[in-house]
């Protein structure tokens, strides 16, 4: 190589280095850590928004990289599905978007009447609500009864029928036919007779989509299909909007194209006088699919649009720094915790669980998840905005030594290791610890923090990362898989009753060999008894106290390690007056959302 070529090569290398350095400097100056930073203004939460100052008209575009699961009110059990359900149907009761604790009558004409010591619930319904075409007729109490009864039909297989409606007389053995404990004495009255005084839970459950009326004459033939075709191909509606449908009520291929789009239009039979939703928008076009990163930018830089699913961390940071008014971080979107196998293995020892709890740097996990915009460090299990949260210590949580240090405290942890029989404060036994986490998003990093904490305590840790659905279906939800810890499990309330947060994941008798949601196999007799007692308290305040006590017991026993109270980040275009449902993990409420310039 002669001198001139060498000089040219050197010059090229220097130019490339200079360019790389310039790019790095540019990137550094434009990157932010605001999501994790302290002392900055928190993102808007959506609480206390005026629901009735929008303008009528216009078309909202909704970008949604995920598809819906079910559009049948009897099957829907997913936050995105609920968006469609509550915009197109009227349940007996519903939480207003800015209120997650008090239900308002929707199809019902007033509050439920509880009698017989909490064993009978009577609901009167409005007499001016009609079904959309082609049914067109008035909704009656029989339509509500059928809607609930079909939940037990295996072709519908409502996922929460037994937990919330199982105490209705005859419901436990129902298969879709009439249930003895549901009586409709006239067209506007429905009465529920319960086997136990669990009226307070049923009252909350009457806000779920299963109470949205379904006409048997229309849905009955469709319910004979396996699975039902009601909500898959055809449906009738009672809310302000409906999926665009043919005259025969078929929406598949028109108002809903799987994996492509959904279109909501005004329901011609909707009666605005019987529904508190102002229904400002004329039309909602939901675009299904696409890369989340691109969608987020389309929403932030574009107009008339919202992103339906969770934006990427990069877009949340961008919104926070450049489009602050277009970002909401809605609290009460559930929680996440590290499940610990209470039944066998090292974590069957309560002091080892407490040690693990104390050692874990939960603040670091929240930081990895996206920082304070996407959540707070969790200190117990009842989530913010739910009855019992304050009674259980609020954000500070119950006062136990292992719960005092969000950043983790090895000294406290070692104290409990010693109490567990390890004088050095480190584990010296022969058992290894198997952790199974999700390989999606930030989860691997979060799982690594759990692994590090346990390794510091002397455990030999094996970390397995799999797809999130596999994590639940093959490992964490299968007791026989003998997983010691799952760092990514979480729960979202079904409604504001704390029973819906604590019952399924921590109630011993609910443990099943597959599809188990009591991931830590928590089966503590005292906790079980306290849950039974709390579920039968009729007075709402006393019930909240009783569930807060259960929450305290769960932390005392360190049955799992709560690490984040999730907030739901949502982004909208500058001209959208988006309204978030505080009760539905912050999802958009199309019944109240409007455009500034329709």
């Amino acid at each position: 190589m002669n001198t001139s070529i060498r000089r040219r090569a050197l010059a090229t290398v220097l130019v490339l280095f200079a360019a790389a350095a310039a790019l790095f400097a540019y990137a550094s100056s434009h990157s932010t850590t605001v999501a994790n930073g302290a002392g900055l203004a928190p993102a808007q939460t959506g609480s206390g928004e005026n629901l009735y100052n929008g303008k009528r008209g216009g078309t909202l575009t909704v970008y949604d990289s995920e598809d819906f699961e079910h559009l049948d009110p009897g099957e829907a059990y997913f936050a995105l599905d609920y968006e469609i359900m509550y915009a197109t149907q009227m349940p007996l009761y519903e939480y207003l978007p800015n209120n997650s604790t008090t239900v308002s009558p929707m199809l019902a004409s007033g509050q439920p009447i509880v009698t017989d010591g909490g064993k009978t619930v009577t609901v009167h319904i409005k007499d001016d609500v009609h079904f959309s075409p082609p049914v067109n007729r008035l909704v009656t109490s029989a339509d509500v009864a059928y809607a609930i009864e079909r939940g037990a039909n295996p072709n519908v297989a409502n996922p929460y029928f037994i937990p919330y409606f199982g105490d209705i007389v005859g419901a436990a053995k129902a298969t879709g036919g009439p249930i003895a404990g549901i009586v409709t004495p006239n067209a506007t009255t429905i009465v529920f007779h319960l086997t136990q005084p669990t009226a307070i839970l049923l009252e909350g459950a009457l806000s779920l989509p299963i109470t949205m009326p379904v006409p048997e004459s229309f849905a009955g033939p469709l319910d004979k299909d396996k699975p039902t075709q009601y909500g898959t191909s055809s449906e009738v509606f009672t809310g302000p909007y409906m999926l665009e449908s043919t005259a025969a009520g078929k929406f598949l291929g028109l108002g809903y194209q799987p994996g492509k789009s959904a279109t909501l239009v005004r329901n011609p039979n909707w009666n605005p006088k019987s529904d508190p939703a102002p229904a400002y928008l004329d039309r909602i076009n939901i675009n299904i699919g696409g890369a989340s990163q691109v969608i987020g930018l389309q929403v932030l830089k574009g107009s008339d649009s919202v992103q339906n699913d969770t934006p990427t961390n990069a877009n949340v940071e961008l919104a926070y720094t450049k489009y602050y008014k277009q970002l909401y971080a809605v609290p009460g979107a559930g929680d996440h915790y590290v499940s610990l196998d209470n039944a066998k293995g090292v974590f069957s020892n309560v002091n080892i669980r407490r040690a693990a709890y104390a050692a874990l740097d939960r603040a670091a996990m929240v930081k990895v998840a996206g920082g304070t915009i996407v959540g707070e460090v969790a200190t117990h299990f009842i989530t913010p905005g739910s009855a019992g949260f304050t009674q259980s210590g609020g954000l500070a949580g119950p006062k136990y030594p292992w719960n005092e240090y969000p950043d983790g405290n090895l000294t406290v942890a070692e104290k409990y290791m010693k109490a567990a029989g390890y004088p050095s404060g480190k584990y010296t036994g022969s058992q290894s610890v198997k952790i199974v986490g999700s390989d999606n998003g930030n989860s691997p990093e979060e799982a690594a923090i759990v692994k590090d904490a346990l390794t510091e305590l002397g455990f030999n840790v094996k970390l397995v990362l799999v797809d999130q659905s596999v994590m639940y279906a093959k490992y964490c939800g299968v007791p026989a898989a003998e997983v010691d810890a799952c760092p990514e499990v979480g729960w979202i309330r079904d409604f504001a009753d704390p029973q819906t947060i604590l019952y399924v994941p921590f109630w011993g008798p609910a443990i099943t060999p597959t599809n188990n949601s009591n991931w830590g196999q928590v089966n503590n007799p005292q906790i079980n008894a306290a849950m039974v007692a709390a579920s039968q308290v009729v007075n709402p305040t006393a019930a909240a106290d009783a569930w807060a006590k259960v929450d305290d017991m769960l932390v005392d026993q360190a049955v799992a390690i709560p690490w984040i109270f999730d907030d739901q980040p949502n982004i909208e275009s500058a001209n959208v007056r988006g309204i978030n449902d505080l009760w539905d993990v912050g999802e958009w409420d199309y019944g109240y959302t409007s455009l500034d310039n329709p």
Binding site: I162, K226, G259, A291, G302, S469, V470, N515
Partner: protein, 320 residues
């Protein structure tokens, strides 16, 4: 030739059955999710899961399920039912095929009309600045992942999020029959992105192949006979040089017809690739099997067509 085609078709059928069997086995041997559990939802009880398993035929032994699947495809053209969408898989694939077809055909057209001439010019102008610039650019596009290239293209040229509002952005796809002009506009950027890598590969392939051919004796003979350089290159040189290109082209197009997963994902084009990737996420085995089967059919048919084309393009190739 007829016997050859029949033999190839029969082997194609055998290969298809083997592909179905392998795909089927993958979902039973690897840790996927029981569709009945997915269908039953978050609180699905063991009773409900068992009931759904029975309805879906998942309670039968694997060989019975496999036999039923094959039987339904061959006798009824039935690819099964999607667990997630509750829809026939055949219908879902047919619904998505036009978008994938539009994307693939347009991109293939683009990479041929750009890649082949660039390769020829590079070969003719070997070691000139033009050649180096063309091959240097080709190297960049060969190295660039299509997902990254797609995002960069959107950030620069999309009319919603780009710096220069030139092309319609992600999610703008409309069907050809709905609005031909919008269909064309919406696919311009995806075509360019999808064809970029292939254009580069084809340019390099044509250049290398042509350079090799141009050194052959029969090219020297053609020149000696006084033929024009254009005729020597296009008639004698390219005819030989294009043979390996046909092989790659057939397989490339067939592969993309099975779904250009990344391009469809970035540009939000509802094609077979996106259907497939969504189905993998949902654990929707029947859709994955259906899309794999369709992709296999395309590849096998393309292989047969390539073999036949060989006979016409290269006089040295003859089939008994």
């Amino acid at each position: 030739m007829t016997g050859f085609i029949i033999r190839r078709l029969l082997w194609g059928v055998v290969l298809l059955i083997a592909v179905i069997a392998v795909t089927f086995m993958i979902f039973y041997l690897l840790p996927s999710v029981n569709p009945a559990i997915l269908r039953a939802g978050r609180n699905g009880s063991p009773k409900i899961i068992a009931e759904i398993s029975k309805d879906l035929g998942l309670n039968h032994p694997i060989y019975v399920q496999f036999w039923n699947y094959i039987k339904n495809i061959i006798l009824h053209g039935n690819f099964g039912y999607s667990y997630y969408y509750n829809d026939p898989v055949g219908g879902l694939i047919a619904n998505r095929l036009p978008a994938t077809l539009s994307l693939t055909v347009g991109a293939a057209f683009l990479w041929i009309v750009v890649g082949v001439p660039v390769g020829i010019i590079s070969a003719i102008k070997r070691r000139t600045l033009l050649d180096r610039a063309a091959m240097g650019t080709a190297l960049v596009f060969v190295s660039a992942p299509v997902f990254w290239l797609g995002l960069i293209a959107l950030y620069v040229f999309a009319n919603d999020i780009g710096q220069f509002h030139v092309f319609p952005g992600a999610g703008s796809y409309v069907g050809l029959t709905v609005n031909p002009l919008k269909w064309f506009e919406s696919l311009l950027l995806p075509w360019m992105v999808l064809s970029a890598t292939s254009t580069a590969i084809y340019a390099r392939l044509v250049r290398g192949s042509l350079l090799q051919v141009m050194g052959e004796d029969y090219i020297r003979t053609a020149r000696a006979k006084g033929l024009s350089e254009r005729r020597v290159i296009l008639k004698h040189g390219m005819r030989s040089a294009i043979t390996p290109l046909v092989t790659v082209l057939g397989l490339d197009i067939a592969g993309l017809l099975g779904g250009a997963i990344l391009t469809e994902g970035v540009f939000d084009i509802p094609g077979i690739g996106r259907l497939n990737i969504d189905a993998i996420g949902h654990g929707d085995v029947t859709i994955v099997q259906g899309t794999v089967l369709v992709a296999s059919i395309f590849i096998i048919v393309a292989n047969i067509l390539v073999d036949i084309a060989y006979a016409f393009l290269d006089p040295r190739v003859r089939y008994e």
